[in-house]
Symmetry: C2
Subunit: 106 residues, 2 copies
């Protein structure tokens, strides 16, 4: 019982946590699929009520995984590349270290 978590560990955990719900994975994929950053028809794509979707969007935004901009009456969300980049980098680093490692057990 010793070390506290590093800042990086905490940041990564926050990102992962934000994706740790199928609704939020679905939102990310939908934002990626429809090339335009279409808005609240995300609600129509999910088996959830509008306030619940709004809540999930907020979590994704707080985690830095999406961005939203107001467009008149409407809000336009899209993927925040920075967040994706962090995740993608993390795993490529992880993966390359894994290859160098010879598993001594398991």
């Amino acid at each position: 019982m010793k070390n506290d978590y590093t800042k990086s560990q905490q940041e990564m955990a926050t990102l992962f946590k934000a994706l740790g719900h199928p609704a939020r994975v679905a939102i990310m994929e939908h934002l990626l699929k429809i090339d335009a950053c279409i808005v609240g028809d995300i609600v129509d794509e999910l088996p959830l009520a509008q306030p619940t979707v709004s809540q999930h969007l907020k979590e994704l935004k707080n985690a830095g995984l999406i961005k939203g901009s107001i467009e008149g009456n409407t809000i336009c969300y899209c993927v925040n590349e920075k967040g994706i980049e962090k995740l993608s980098n993390y795993f490529s680093g992880f993966h390359s270290k894994l290859n160098k490692q010879e598993n001594k057990c398991c």
Copy 2:
């Protein structure tokens, strides 16, 4: 309010959720760092009591992110490459789609 989540969305969410806690990120990184699949000295690396660490290890194992093998009195955990591969593939796909997309707003 329409579609249910796909199997893939659910699977990915499960993987992300498993990493959505700094202790579990720290465990993964530690297993990667010490080339050998060292055991319960993970407990000494974390600011948590042994039962709590055990619980986190179980979650990671259930999610398919680590493997454990009994070694006499001891248990040897190590990273499960399959899980990492899934995550790493997911993001590289995601990332390459992102590049093709011209953000119309945001």
